[in-house]
């Protein structure tokens, strides 16, 4: 048994941290936050592409590094810690994984090298309305190879070059590749809780699309992709949650009240201990998820759900209690605590809310134990 990063993976992670500390300090995140016309940081995107990170888990034949998914998890952890304001998750965790999972050889050859090189930003367009995703309520429709309908919200829909769109064809859900530079595509940037990760409403009017995977299997593919993305997102959440605990700890040690550091008061100590407990539970579940993802284990759906639930809870708790630990300062725009609070919410919704995942988890568990 081996439930930790290898030395090489640790090295990669350390290097990634140094790289992001230099290239993605909070000022870069705020550059996107404060500029309504900016949906991501293009320089950081370029730099990350040059590092080869976008293709970390893409096979070498398709222009990637062919490292593996544990390596990608290690990078995700650092990207989450740094709050990297780039369309990494949409492009890599969702789109590349979807194409690797369900794409034809031709589709892989056509798209993956562009993704690995950072030339193609992707987005994953499933949601249309409030409430959990359901095939029954889908309205976007493909007829004669042309897509019409509205997708909202689509993370990175404002900057992406292509979208993977869930839509009905002949009454059954399918997944389709759409080029967003085609005529008939309208994008409208949305105001969201986390402006450091852009999102848009995408309207399609008779846009030609390319089916990904077999007809009628759209929901199955989306669920399979969500399982994979959930593990990777969980590592971003874990990285963010760890950083919140560090921030809270550093502040609590420096801040004095009633003649001593607030870190000496049990109400604060126990709060931070609780953060630690949740973060470690999340880390353990994440590692198991990484293993399942990397080996395509049959346990992946259950492992992914557990990682997502644990990491969503850890990041939510750490991000809100980090603000609390900072007192009035925590409530200011100037302190970075709210950046994490925003990202925590964004990450825990983007592949479906924790409640939805708990439901998936119990569904899996129920089937497994009944079997």
């Amino acid at each position: 048994m081996n439930l930790d990063y290898s030395d090489d993976q640790k090295f990669l992670k350390d290097e990634a941290r140094k790289f992001l500390e230099a290239r993605c300090p909070p000022s870069v995140v705020r550059g996107v936050l404060d500029d309504p016309d900016k949906s991501y940081d293009a320089d950081l995107w370029k730099a990350v592409a040059e590092q080869g990170w976008l293709g970390a888990a893409i096979p070498e034949v398709h222009g990637g590094l062919g490292l593996g998914h544990v390596e990608l998890c290690a990078l995700a952890e650092e990207l989450g810690r740094a709050l990297a304001p780039i369309p990494f998750a949409s492009t890599v965790y969702f789109c590349a994984e979807a194409i690797l999972t369900a794409g034809s050889d031709q589709q892989k050859a056509h798209t993956l090298p562009k993704i690995a090189a950072g030339e193609w930003i992707g987005c994953f367009a499933t949601s249309e309305r409030p409430g959990p995703l359901s095939a029954d309520t889908l309205e976007a429709t493909v007829r004669d190879g042309k897509l019409s309908g509205v997708k909202i919200p689509v993370t990175d829909g404002d900057c992406a070059g292509f979208a993977l769109v869930l839509a009905k064809e002949n009454g059954r859900p399918g997944l389709f590749i759409a080029n967003l530079n085609e005529a008939g595509v309208t994008r409208e940037t949305l105001k969201t809780l986390d402006p450091t990760r852009g999102a848009a409403r995408l309207t399609f009017d008779q846009v030609p699309v390319w089916p990904l995977g077999a007809p009628g299997e759209g929901m199955d593919i989306v669920e399979a992709v969500f399982d994979r993305a959930a593990v990777l997102l969980a590592f971003e959440q874990l990285g963010g949650a760890d950083r919140c605990l560090e921030m809270a700890k550093d502040y609590a040690l420096d801040r004095y009240a009633f003649g001593r550091p607030i870190a000496g008061y049990q109400a604060i100590k126990h709060k931070l201990a609780d953060m630690y407990v949740k973060n470690e539970l999340a880390r353990s579940n994440c590692y198991y998820g990484a293993w399942a993802l990397n080996t395509n284990a049959p346990e992946l759906p259950l492992a992914a759900a557990a990682a997502r639930v644990a990491a969503s809870e850890a990041f939510w708790f750490a991000s809100k209690e980090n603000i609390q630990t900072h007192g009035g300062m925590g409530f200011t725009w100037q302190v970075d605590a709210h950046l994490y609070f925003r990202r925590a919410r964004q990450l825990s919704l983007v592949a479906g809310a924790p409640a939805t995942w708990k439901e998936r988890l119990v569904g899996q568990l129920d089937r497994k134990n009944a079997a």
Binding site: M1, L245, Q266, A273, V277, L281, N285
Partner: protein, 412 residues
């Protein structure tokens, strides 16, 4: 990351399974159905015989040196054995405190002759040990203890011990114990302590079982009246008892940890067969959300233990992550059993194993969980430990640090 057994681990596991298949049969305590549940004495007899069998095969203390009667194996092998032993239904609780906490302390501080005398019999289950630390005056603050050890006036070098311990698990069936005493009340509390091993059958030791809120009597009061012990029974130097106790307590954190008792599997099973307002409880959305949380916690703890094992198998010191175990396990047990009882509605009040679902496992654990949140460090003390030792936050304000023990403020 690799989650499967390595080839060596897999080989060890199948070797263990084969051995358990061949030997465990007669030691299973039978069905846990109330009517056929073995008496405590019968269970103890079975446990001792089983322990001897394990010792013969090198499975009783897998990681300890062979010279001491152990198996000379790896920590991961101990984990694998524990898993398989649990599955085979022959894991007994009686030796955890002795082998997990007391004997490691003896190994660290006793002379060779003493070690030779005690280690083997403990491994073979012939002698059971208990931990005599907590007192009415202090459990969390165990260094506030008052049991006095004074040199005998006859010049023999012996010690005379008077005082009282409390909450001593297993004292009523233990043969030996490690006893923390105060030898000097004129110095601050941590500096005036000394540790001894004692014979629980010696004159001057009186064990009185405590009737627990759960109904059982696993722990005891232990009174010492002019108990005479030899200076050679001292573990560590005079006045160094706190340092010795820390070794015991460090081992406690490794030994305690996983809670036994019903977990998400059992409550899932219960929810399948219990009808709620709109069909089986397992279909209730609110219940499913909580079930997911319990599953995630239980898996998180399991994988946290695997992370510790990974560090050990790489020859590294495990990180502090194992400190989260008991807080989570104890609170989950309380929350989960409470929910299982509530699910049964009016029926949930029934604690009779021959009537209540799952032989009243939930009701029993419900009455036990409060103790688990206290034993081996309370929730609050464990949070303090994580905050101070793991996160490096300051200690609480202390009014007792530089005060002689005898001048310390005290309550009842």
């Amino acid at each position: 990351m690799d989650f499967n057994d390595s080839p060596e681990e897999a080989a060890f596991r199948s070797q263990v399974r084969a051995w358990l298949d061949a030997h465990a049969g007669p030691f299973r305590s039978g069905s846990s159905m109330a009517a056929r549940r073995p008496s405590h004495d019968e269970l103890l007899r079975l446990a001792k015989a089983w322990q001897a069998k394990k010792a013969d095969a090198g499975y009783a203390a897998i990681t300890w040196p062979k010279a001491w009667g152990g198996g000379g194996g790896e920590p991961i092998q101990q984990v694998i054995f524990n898993q398989e032993e649990q599955k085979a239904g022959v894991a007994f609780p009686f030796f955890t405190i002795g082998l997990g906490m007391c004997i490691p302390t003896v190994m660290a501080f006793a002379d060779e002759a003493t070690k030779k005398r005690f280690v083997g019999p403990a491994i073979r289950g012939e002698e059971i040990w208990c931990q005599l630390f907590s007192e009415p005056a202090g459990g969390s603050d165990v260094a506030a203890l008052r049991t006095r050890a004074e040199r005998a006036e006859d010049g023999s070098g012996d010690w005379i011990i008077n005082g009282q311990k409390v909450w001593t698990t297993g004292a009523h069936y233990s043969d030996y114990g490690i006893l923390l005493t105060r030898t000097n009340p004129d110095v601050p509390k941590h500096k005036g302590l000394t540790m001894f091993w004692i014979d629980m059958h010696a004159p001057g030791v009186e064990v009185r079982p405590i009737h627990q809120m759960s109904g059982g009597s696993e722990f005891n009061e232990v009174y010492f009246t002019d108990l005479r012990v030899k200076d050679s029974q001292r573990l560590g130097d005079v006045g160094q008892g706190w340092q010795v106790a820390l070794v015991t307590l460090m081992n406690e954190r490794l030994a305690v940890g996983g809670a036994s008792g019903p977990n998400y599997r059992e409550i899932l099973e219960l929810a399948r067969t219990t009808l709620g307002a709109d069909g089986p409880a397992i279909e209730d959305r609110a219940f499913r959300q909580r079930l997911a949380d319990w599953y995630v916690q239980a898996e998180g703890l399991k994988f946290t233990r695997y992370r510790t094992m990974t560090a050990l198998s790489r020859g590294q010191t495990p990180g502090p992550e194992s400190s989260i175990g008991k807080i989570i396990a104890a609170n989950q047990l309380q929350d989960l059993t409470n929910q299982a009882i509530e699910m049964q509605d009016q029926f949930g009040i029934i604690a009779d194993p021959s009537i209540a679902p799952m032989e009243a496992a939930f009701q029993q654990a419900f009455m036990w969980a409060p103790g688990l949140r206290i034993a081996g460090g309370t929730d609050e003390i464990l949070r303090n430990i994580i905050a101070e030792r793991v996160l490096g936050l300051p200690g609480d304000v202390r009014v007792d640090k530089d005060v002689a023990f005898k001048d310390m403020p005290r309550g009842v």
